[in-house]
Amino acid sequence: MSEYRVIELEVTSTTLLREAIQEVCTWMGIGFAEHEQAQSLVGYHGERRNEKAKFIIDRRHITSASNDLGWVRDPESGKYRLIISEYDQRQTKARQIALEVKKAYVLKEGAQRATALGYTATPVKDVAGKTVEIKLRRY
């Protein structure tokens, strides 16, 4: 072992974010929706909120008192932003979903960049199907 880096990544790829949300939702056993045009998030009373998102995880997949969780792209920066209500920031499950999506995304981004450079990328998954690490090899 010679060196390691800790890297903060921005979420910019729609394709990789879709794959990350899909992967997390699959191993967590929940659903999500992708919209061509950003749609309003729904609050815990069933009301439409001001925030809109392209990718939405329905509040009913989180807790009975949760609001929808969403990701929306900032048209200027091109970066995706997580929309999580103040209430859900204090909820373990909502925070876990958001964190797991971020983790899945950064692994996918790293693997994609590496394969473009000639590495072979082998994902290592746990029993639930969650990718816990990716081995990159170059010979």
Partner: protein, 70 residues
């Protein structure tokens, strides 16, 4: 420049940051093969392990001591 065989392990921390660990290369060549990682985002920590400072000679000695080739 020929790139020596190596492995990079990608993991994540509890904040959703990417942790990349380079294995299989001793010495500063390690940094050369992993420079591309810097372009992924904002590097908040970059540490070199003991083997980074190993010389080619010490690498051979290490390998012989371990009974194999490195």
């Amino acid at each position: 420049m020929t790139i020596p065989p190596h492995e990079i392990i990608l993991k994540t921390d509890d904040e959703g940051n990417l942790i990349a660990t380079v294995e299989g290369i001793k010495g500063p060549g390690c940094t050369d093969v992993s420079k591309w990682l810097d372009s992924l985002g904002n590097v908040t920590d970059h540490k070199k392990r003991t083997s980074y400072y190993a010389t080619a000679e010490s690498s051979v000695k290490d390998a012989l001591a371990q009974g194999g080739c490195w």
